[in-house]
Symmetry: C2
Subunit: 346 residues, 2 copies
């Protein structure tokens, strides 16, 4: 008889604790703990015994218990709106990749509306995450809360004016100005702009940047109509522009690619116009479909991968050293020439 009925080897089968392993290996619990801590001082004999017992029992260190004592959960929260996620799944992929390469897990929070953020923030704080990536907007008080708790966080593509916070951005206005420059330089004189949802900072920056540059260049024929980032709203946008200007503008700037594609399709299929022969269409983001042959969109691509990588390393650095000062990193977009716009050869 190996063991009396006094103590079963395992209370719950398949859920061994370090004590169970210790008992089987006839060593102390601390020894077991040390065997699973890289760089700890353990003799090879001990390690072998413990590992054997652990193997037998199917022991896995309990990350929850570990987090409690080490005050490190090795989890970061990623907050992203469904909008953003739908159009940019690769953002989440890259974040996940970056964090997991550094031994950090991602606790995901998707927002149906950006205003759901307060409930979510409460959750985040309860879960003791080591850091937060915010691809959503936060109010001043919400930022206060995070700062007061000492949780490192970084904004992705939205920042807080007049406040030193960590942020990774793509310079939307700059990209917009480029696009305008190239379009005007190629002779376009009347412009339509299809903006994104009212609560999108990114859309506002793109629209603002374009308008500003158009103003500087003395272009007067400009109309702005609202969209919501969807394909349908891009198509609808073109019709709105037509009725607003009395005719189709020579160039349409859409606040994202998907709307630009909708706009192109509306022009070609509904209005029977040539793109770029009769009108030029440009967008922002550089999503996959923009490169497809039916579209070949001229756009300003966001360096998603770099941005995600930057966000990851900014967070990780600040988990290691919370005293690092806030930092803003701004990337330029990448002007991608397609055939959806009539431009001078680059």
């Amino acid at each position: 008889m190996k063991s009396s009925s006094r103590k079963p080897v395992l209370a719950v089968p398949g859920r061994a604790t370090s004590y169970d392993v210790a008992r089987v290996a006839k060593v102390s619990q601390s020894a077991v703990s040390r065997c699973f801590k890289p760089g700890a001082s353990v003799s090879s004999k001990m390690r072998a015994r413990v590992m054997k017992a652990a193997e037998e029992l199917g022991y896995r260190p309990n990350a929850i218990a570990r987090s409690l004592i080490t005050r490190r959960s090795n989890m970061v929260a990623v907050v992203i709106s469904q909008q953003t996620h739908r159009y940019f799944p690769e953002l989440l992929d890259e974040l996940s990749r970056g964090f997991s390469a550094r031994g950090i897990r991602v606790l995901l929070f998707t927002l149906e509306k950006e205003s759901d953020i307060d409930v979510v923030l409460e959750q985040i704080l309860q879960y003791q995450v080591d850091g937060v990536v915010e691809a959503a907007r936060l109010s001043g008080e919400q930022v206060d809360m995070l700062e007061k708790r000492g949780v490192p966080f970084v904004f992705l593509n939205r920042s807080l004016r007049d406040r030193p916070v960590n942020a990774v951005c793509c310079d939307q206005a700059e990209g917009a100005r480029w696009l305008v420059n190239r379009l005007v330089e190629a002779g376009h004189r009347s412009f339509g702009i299809v903006s994104g949802p009212a609560d999108s900072v990114v859309s506002a920056e793109r629209t603002q940047g374009a308008l500003e540059r158009l103003g500087e260049l003395g272009i007067r024929q400009v109309a702005v109509v609202p969209g919501n980032y969807s394909y349908e709203s891009g198509a609808a946008g073109l019709r709105l522009l037509e009725s607003k200007l009395g005719r189709v503008p020579e160039a349409v700037i859409c606040a994202n690619d998907v709307m630009a594609l909708g706009c192109m399709d509306a022009a070609r299929h509904d209005l029977r116009l040539g793109v770029p022969a009769d009108l030029s269409v440009v967008g922002f983001d550089g999503v996959g479909p923009a490169r497809w042959k039916s579209y070949d969109l001229t756009t300003v691509q966001q360096p998603v991968r770099r941005m995600a990588e930057a966000a990851v390393s900014m967070i990780v650095e600040r988990i290691e050293d919370p005293t690092l000062p806030p930092e803003k990193r701004t990337f330029s977009g990448i002007l991608t020439h397609g055939s959806s716009a009539r431009l001078r050869k680059p």
Copy 2:
């Protein structure tokens, strides 16, 4: 002087524990705990005092500590390959929505290759998640591990033949047979199939289903070429088919929509063929771009939302009652008529 220097109110500012709150409110720690547990027996006077102190200190219950004692982390792991995620971001959205509506957080694991699953599984077990959604394949031993640990899990669109496990699927073969039926009925006699990556079960089922039905209907002119689910491989697939058959087939069945779109573009732009005039193209999935006017693809749509919801509730039920027997739920795809295929009017 409110308090002597002996004990500061908070060790780490902004990270109050239930003990801190208890001290400030001059009650016991258990009282604080009870105030944050819905349905506990607490007098309103007590609750008011505790809440006031908690407010002052910015107290949030520590979910990690709670999980340790309750043996419930209120987290589920979602495992998804980057492939799947890129083409189906809405799947993750819906899962996240469903779980968070039930007070459960999602711990995300994305796989670059499905073979990375073993490392990830190890992580999952350490994190004491209450359940797992697997949109990835698992080996028999891996399933054993999960079962031995008593962690409820459900497969999404991949199952284990000959084994009672929880799974939510879309009947791929059925959809494939439908497509073939409609195409043959409309007079198509030569077929090309662009399959997905070799390790994709879904692709195999679609391809197999189509081949089987074609065989039953006595269609002999059939070629299968490999793809990898990407737009480019859809376009390349058409060229492969052409060289394999000596000419372009009358109908091309692609193992997913994105390849179908690539195939359509290759036909129209490279080969200057009319779709559906010169060839019919169909796909699977029902992704957004398939509905765009430039494509208007005929496809078999997966009821992603229903499937995600089913997966969520299957997991949640089994967290509540682990004795529930395994269950497989299979949804039919939704045949969506577009104009990319020449079919008889429905």
